[in-house]
């Protein structure tokens, strides 16, 4: 049995201060004057405590791409970022399109033991967009998959998308769509607009995202299914989701931290750390996704943590891989983009980074209230800290972060998963490093 922990003086979601007693994997008490006999006292004075963060969009790369990340190294990156659960995207090798692969992913997560690793299943066989994968078998497997996605590729064929949306109703699943019209983005390198025109890089137009979202919300409405839109990145996409929600369509949407903070102007130096899909957009788009997240049009923040080895980024832009690591920096970036700007309160951050992603993914035991009897999944964050983000802040296998050298506010001080510390005083615990 793990030791009991008593966190003293933490502000719950940024509100009132209280002590929190953790024992036997659950929150044993919240308040003052708790029985502290036998408990390790952890000074959390001035820290705010959030329900453990939940990432609905992580690439853990294992099996198949262990040079980029493994389930263990990705779990470490998640823990230092304050996460207690991550949803693993299926674009591994082999693709997670069968019960066997999702159960393997689940087992790797359990063996690592630092966060809950919840597999996402592929929508189509091999993510090729041609035939439905065995969605029911994945749902019924030990991994009890509820979220299905071909992320990295769009389920482009409208008939396959319709069938997938309908089929997963049988087990209350949701299709998470990577919205990208492949014909409009052949060879695309960056957002299409004034900067791509100047740099001579093939454009990834906003309409290639928006046209798929428009189609999918209409399909979801027509068949009465749930749709989740991954990494929405344009002002037009925000408008479409707002319109769809007003009509009562069962749609949820996510935005990445980088789309909340960074703009396409960073591409001008052709530094491939800033190459990502969907690409960094205009400042107008950044403002629109911030507003969308603030008014609830966008439901959650998800990292799209996408590790790549150094050689995949140390090359000419066109040859470089798409993607950025994001788990370690996400909360600090949301702090900078949404809290410091007055757009969100900390309780909203708890909603968009923990409660709602857990609800969309139907993940039990996460995103719960910070109250006695609830599972002990907690993140303690020092909002007054801050500093230059560096390689030392990264704990996954890859260092392709767009924030290196940039000042970010805040610091994750403690992370508690299943009642045990995975991060203490801002560093992985010995157990987590082993």
């Amino acid at each position: 049995m793990s030791e009991a922990l008593l966190f003293t003086g933490a502000r719950i979601e940024g509100g009132a201060s209280a002590d929190i007693l953790v024992a036997d994997g659950v929150i044993a008490g919240v308040g003052s004057g708790l029985d502290r006999r036998g408990a390790r006292i952890v000074d959390a004075d001035g820290l705010l405590v959030l329900p453990g963060l939940v990432d609905l969009h992580t690439h853990l790369r294992e099996p198949g791409y262990e040079d980029s990340e493994t389930v263990l190294t990705g779990s470490r990156a998640a823990a230092v970022g304050g996460y207690t659960a991550v949803f693993a995207m299926p674009n591994t090798s082999p693709v997670a399109d069968t019960a066997g692969v999702v159960e393997q992913e689940l087992a790797l997560g359990e063996a690592a033991g630092l966060v809950t690793v919840q597999p996402i299943g592929a929508v189509t066989v091999g993510q090729k967009g041609e035939r439905l994968a065995e969605l029911g078998a994945m749902a019924a497997s030990r991994a009890r998959v509820r979220v299905f996605s071909d992320d990295g590729s769009c389920v482009w064929d409208p008939l396959i998308m319709r069938r997938a949306l309908e089929y997963v109703k049988a087990f209350d699943g949701v299709i998470a769509q990577h919205a990208q019209d492949p014909r409009l983005t052949a060879g695309a390198q960056m957002n299409e607009g004034t900067v791509s025109s100047e740099l001579g890089l093939a454009g990834w137009p906003a309409v290639a995202e928006e046209s798929i979202i428009a189609r999918d919300v209409l399909l979801a409405e027509h068949v009465g299914s749930r749709l989740h839109v991954c990494h929405l990145s344009t002002a037009g996409s925000v408008d479409l989701i707002r319109w769809a929600k007003k009509r009562g369509v069962q749609v949820t949407a996510e935005v990445t931290p980088h789309h909340l903070l960074l703009t396409e102007d960073l591409v001008r130096g052709y530094d491939a750390r800033f190459k990502v899909n969907p690409p960094l957009r205009r400042n107008e788009d950044v403002q629109a996704v911030r507003e969308g997240l603030a008014d609830g049009t966008i439901d959650i923040v998800a990292t799209d943590h996408a590790p790549h080895p150094a050689e995949a980024k140390a090359c000419e832009w066109q040859a470089a891989a798409n993607g950025m690591v994001g788990l370690e920096s996400a909360l600090r970036v949301v702090h900078a983009a949404m809290v410091d700007t007055g757009l969100l309160e900390w309780t909203d951050v708890a909603r968009v980074m923990s409660r709602t992603p857990a609800a969309i993914g139907q993940l039990p035991g996460h995103g719960r209230p910070i109250a006695a009897g609830e599972p002990a999944e907690l993140t303690f964050y020092d909002p007054a800290a801050g500093g230059e983000f560096g390689v030392a802040d990264l704990r996954g296998r890859s260092v392709n972060s767009p924030y290196l050298g940039r000042r970010l506010p805040g610091d994750v001080r403690f992370t508690v998963h299943a009642g045990r510390l995975t991060v203490a005083d801002g560093a992985l615990t010995e157990e987590a490093r082993a």
Binding site: Q189, E192, G193, T194, S196, S197, E198, L199, G200, L201, A202, G203, P205, G269, Y270, D271, A272, E311, A314, C315, E316, W317, Q318, A319
Partner: protein, 328 residues
């Protein structure tokens, strides 16, 4: 000058300096013995990841006439096949102590990546990168326009008041991009004429007028009409229906050529598709600058290499202009 990567960030004074040094170089090329000792002992590497015999031999002639040692490194396809990365190639050249690298690459931005990566301390000259820029082509075009207009009185002059119209596939043209920035910097008025499909999606930030009608552009009687090469494979991607329709609407055919004022110079970066974007009468007429452009290309590239290499080289890893620029 540390590198020559683009014309977008090339200041007017630097551009004029290159053009004026090119005038000096051109003068030396009138002599019986064309070779100068200026860059003796320096090594210039022509690093071509993409075939371009014309550009390569122009740079080769320029370097040799300045007495530099020239190494031609054809690395075609290596970035695509991932057989050898840009980094490995660059570090190989560094180990061989190259003083300047002239790079042609199919990927936009590759010269900048090479110049700012820290892999190499050599000066980098962009000899054409993807659909981004081709700065020495624009410099030789500006040199040619100035020479035609002002002759022996060219030195020190810019192109104020000159009207230049660029016609063709702007979207995929590094020549067009470099010319837009440089000609504007030098005071010229630039107009673009193209099928709407072959204009970049948003050129609102470009200092140009955009039109779709070549007859109208011809009627305006520009000082220079620059025809770009059209790649026939573009019609397979529905940029235009077929070559006949392209030629009818956007080709410099005999009628349009006849309608141009006698004073309009007809330019083409080569190689030309005769009968497609330019008729033989125009290409071979005294108003054509096509062969002047080739000749001037050597002088301009001599000037660029001279300005890059004649000064002291900073130590590897030392701060340089490109890095400072990125930090801004």
């Amino acid at each position: 000058m540390r590198h020559l990567l683009d014309t977008k960030t090339l200041a007017r004074e630097d551009a004029l300096r290159i053009l004026d040094v090119a005038e000096d170089m051109a003068d030396t090329q009138q002599r019986e013995v064309k070779k100068l000792p200026t860059l003796r002992g320096k090594t210039v590497v022509n690093l071509f990841f993409e075939d371009s015999t014309r550009t390569r031999i122009s740079f080769e002639a320029a370097a040799k006439r300045l007495s530099a040692d020239v190494i031609n490194f054809s690395a075609k396809g290596s970035s695509v096949s991932k057989g050898e990365s840009l980094q490995d190639t660059a570090q190989t050249l560094q180990a061989m102590a190259a003083d300047a690298v002239v790079i042609r690459h199919s990927a936009s931005g590759a010269p900048r990546t090479l110049a700012t990566s820290g892999w190499i301390s050599a000066g980098v000259v962009n000899a054409g990168d993807g659909t981004h820029e081709h700065p020495t082509q624009a410099l030789l075009d500006a040199f040619t326009i100035r020479k035609r207009r002002y002759g022996a009185d060219s030195r020190g002059r810019d192109l104020t008041g000159m009207r230049v119209t660029i016609v063709g596939d702007i979207l995929h043209s590094r020549v067009a991009r470099s010319n837009v920035w440089l000609l504007h910097t030098l005071g010229a008025e630039v107009a673009l004429v193209a099928p709407p499909t072959l204009v970049p999606q948003d050129v609102s930030a470009w200092p140009v007028r955009v039109g779709y009608d070549l007859d109208e552009a011809v009627g305006e009687g520009p000082d220079a009409l620059m025809m770009l090469r059209i790649q026939l494979e573009r019609m397979n991607a529905s940029y235009f229906p077929n070559e006949r329709e392209y030629s009818r609407r956007w080709g410099l055919d005999p009628e349009r050529f006849a309608a141009l004022p006698q004073s309009t110079m007809v330019m083409h970066p080569g190689p030309m598709n005769r009968g497609l974007e330019i008729c033989a009468e125009a290409a071979d007429s005294p108003r054509s600058t096509v062969l002047d452009q080739v000749t001037n290309g050597v002088s301009v590239r001599m000037a660029a290499l001279y300005l890059l290499l004649a000064g002291e080289r900073p130590a590897p890893g030392a701060d340089d202009d490109a890095q400072k620029e990125d930090a801004r």
